[in-house]
Amino acid sequence: MMLELQWSDWLALFGHFMVLSLLSVGGAITTAPDMHRYLVDGQHWLTDPQFNASVAIAQAAPGPNVLFVALMGWHVGLNAGGPMLGLFGVFVTMLGIMLPSTTLTYLAASWGHRNRNLRWVRAFKQGMAPIVIALLIATGWILASANFRSLSDWQVPLLAAVTAAIVWRTRLHLLWLLGAGALLGWFGLV
């Protein structure tokens, strides 16, 4: 796939990711469907396999999941001419997805820190505690049951449940568990 990208195209890409950044409450991954609509279906800057690989590689790699955005920029750049443009694509998409949300969070955090003794600031931070804790458990549940179609798909939820119990109750290093999961998967047991 070869592309001719003009400066105006890069600018449009940057602007689109800046908008998505402001919409990404709940994490950057929540805007992935719109990225697919824009990059694959609309502009044809990415192929479907490239889009899926970007998400899959970033999920498997260590580090924050938002790096799937960097891989989209990388693949757009590769399509437009090679590794140097790929790095430029990483720069454009990552700066776009990060700049608005981190600026807002930074301002909110500094403001909240200065006013941390206000009654409603404390009420917000403490009041949200049960909600965000439940959200974490729900996220684990959703991820573990994503491919659960029938009772024969019991291995992934079981492995997730056993992992949760071990991490909750012991201090075993997390990398041992990930290694065990990788081995079980490699030999087709999960």
């Binding site: 994490g27 498997a60 260590p62 580090g63 990552m94 969070t105 049960p130 729900a138 684990g140 990788a182």
Partner: protein
């Protein structure tokens, strides 16, 4: 915990320098397969003891409600808490710089191995473990609710409603955050003394 957030509390250790912050977050990020949050909680709260579980949950609430990647927001806020703007940038750079290089390297080799059945299986296995890690992080943080102004039973009721809405009914996150979040914050506001 009905007292004001203990940001100025010197009882627990702090990062030594910007370099300490950068290196700590780089190491955290590189251990975080399928999500970094479980590692952040384990390392910063349980091992380094930079913050208590209660403080962690409070910061996480803000990181979650703001747009943007949650873990990135969280590292920005933790860095800011200790060294202001420079701390925020150091934590952010630690979270992103080295992991970005790793992910690009992986993209370069992925094409050769993507079709190997073992690789696909290993990814599935690690995904299952990552799901368990996130759930366990939530289970552990439940102990931060013991001294909550609303009392434990009401907290558990709110948490169960939230879990039902998100995990079982699959309601959009924004409705749950607005509806249950506003209820919980209003109830807490009324319990807090000035």
């Amino acid at each position: 915990m009905t007292a004001a957030p203990t940001d100025e509390d010197e009882a627990h250790p702090q990062p030594q320098s910007l370099t300490d912050l950068f290196v700590s977050f780089t190491l955290l990020a590189l251990q975080g397969f399928g999500g970094v949050l479980a590692v952040v909680q384990r390392e910063l709260v349980e091992k380094k003891r930079w913050m208590t579980r209660e403080e962690f949950v409070e910061e996480w609430a803000v990181a979650q409600i703001m747009p943007g990647p949650n873990v990135i927001n969280l590292s920005l806020m933790i860095g800011h808490r200790y060294f202001g703007f420079r701390g925020a940038m150091a934590a952010l750079a630690g979270m992103l710089a080295v992991p970005l290089l790793v992910v690009l390297l992986l993209a370069l080799v992925y094409a050769q191995f993507a079709s190997h059945p073992g690789v696909a299986g290993a990814l599935r296995g690690m995904g299952a473990v990552a799901a368990g890690l996130i759930a366990a992080t939530g289970l552990k943080l439940m102990s931060a609710l013991k001294n909550h102004p609303l009392g434990l039973p009401l907290c558990i009721a709110l948490a169960l409603l939230c879990f039902t809405g998100i995990a079982l009914l699959r309601l959009p996150l924004v409705y749950v955050l607005l509806g249950l979040g506003a209820t919980a914050c209003t109830l807490t506001y009324r319990k807090l003394d000035r």
